[in-house]
Amino acid sequence: MPEEKEYRGYLAIRNSVALEEEPDLRCLLIKGKDAFKLLDQVCPCNTFLQNGQMKHTLLLDENAVPFADVYICRKWEDAYLLGYWSSSVDMAAWIKQQQGSANDYAIIDLNESNFFLTLNGPYAWELCANAIGPEILGMPYLSVMKLNSGMVFRAGITGEYGYHLMFPAGQRKEWIQTLLEAGKPFDLVVTDHSARVQCALENFFFDLNREGQHQLTPPELQLQWRLSRQKEKYPGSGAMQSIRKKGWDRRITCFITKNPASEKDEIFCENESVGRVLSIGYSPLRKEHIGKALVRKPFWHAGLSGFHVNNHELQTISAPAIDNRSIHVNLNIDSYFTRNENQDEPVR
């Protein structure tokens, strides 16, 4: 069972709002005439973005293994690379290595002068609008907005409303205080990353620190949607073409089990090994354990039972594993303060 603190944070993400400081979220600003030309050199997706748009993609090494889980963003002529990558990666240096004919640009590490807070939850939009301004309500999913000092990125990996807030480092205490005050009527809970990690697992979002540590490629990770089939040249493109030509015989599949298991535990069908656990966590909403397993063909489908791990039953399921409350919340008519009146929302 999760610790009490983690459970509270998890429930806040699923039912109200949770605030998390995210020192591991990184952001580079790429300025200059060739900013998007440079972005196009490094990304495996189509990098065309309208002003204020974001897109979820990956950065791949030469073996087509993701080493960064990123959004690319456009605000006017500036490009932003927002996401997660290891602190051991010198991202600016890696980007420069791929620059090709792009030479009119400057890369600015925004983490040097800013900090990140993240609000997640079905009513994050309402708290965010109260604390920052009603213009937040007009932000579509995967969009970016500049504030007088700071930026808001509407994204998130929990299946609920999510806002990454970037503010100048000198305003850290002030903004945390502002959000805590504004959050009181919303039963805001301050969380660490573990609650978000569990929610991301339930919604089948890629976790660079878990399945991302197993040298798996986008098709094995079910992340081909983050790449463009039409794009021919990007880091890792040769390996991707080879994978698509040869095919692959294993992929990540979501599963549930009533009993705990550990990463690397083998999964069996009768006496035959069919895969192994890559990540697992207890779901307080489902009251069972949810995980991702690397399962070989043809056992890699959802909706299959008859598997076992550590002699306990295991069943593969379709992602996401949760009926997210945010899907049922309508910004135009709903509010945290009338949440129990909405008959359409899942009851928890």
Binding site: R229, E270, G303, A319
Partner: protein
């Protein structure tokens, strides 16, 4: 492999082909069927579909697979390709 497991796998593979074909042709997606991973999100991220696409998907599933889908069922199933497959299996075979 047990016979019932083998049958379930064959059914899911067959419906995956149908659903991928419907998505690609009805929505004019510029992808190969092999590019569509079964747990790809349909809306927001993933395929980035919108509410009009949602209606098209339900209408096409109903007409091509000869099933009837209520608004509530459609709303629940329109999450990923796999959740659509689950719905089709329930409609055609009575369980997912």
């Amino acid at each position: 492999m047990q016979t019932d497991l083998k049958e379930t796998i064959e059914i899911r593979e067959s419906i995956m082909i149908d659903v991928a074909e419907i998505l690609i042709s009805a929505l004019h997606l510029d992808v190969d069927p092999g590019d569509l991973d079964p747990d790809t999100p349909l809306f927001g991220t993933g395929l980035g579909l919108d509410s009009v696409d949602a209606v098209v998907i339900i209408v096409e599933l109903e007409s091509r697979l000869n099933i009837s889908i209520s608004e509530e069922e459609g709303k629940k199933a329109l999450r990923t390709i796999n959740s659509l497959i689950d719905l089709v299996i329930i409609k055609k075979y009575g369980n997912a």
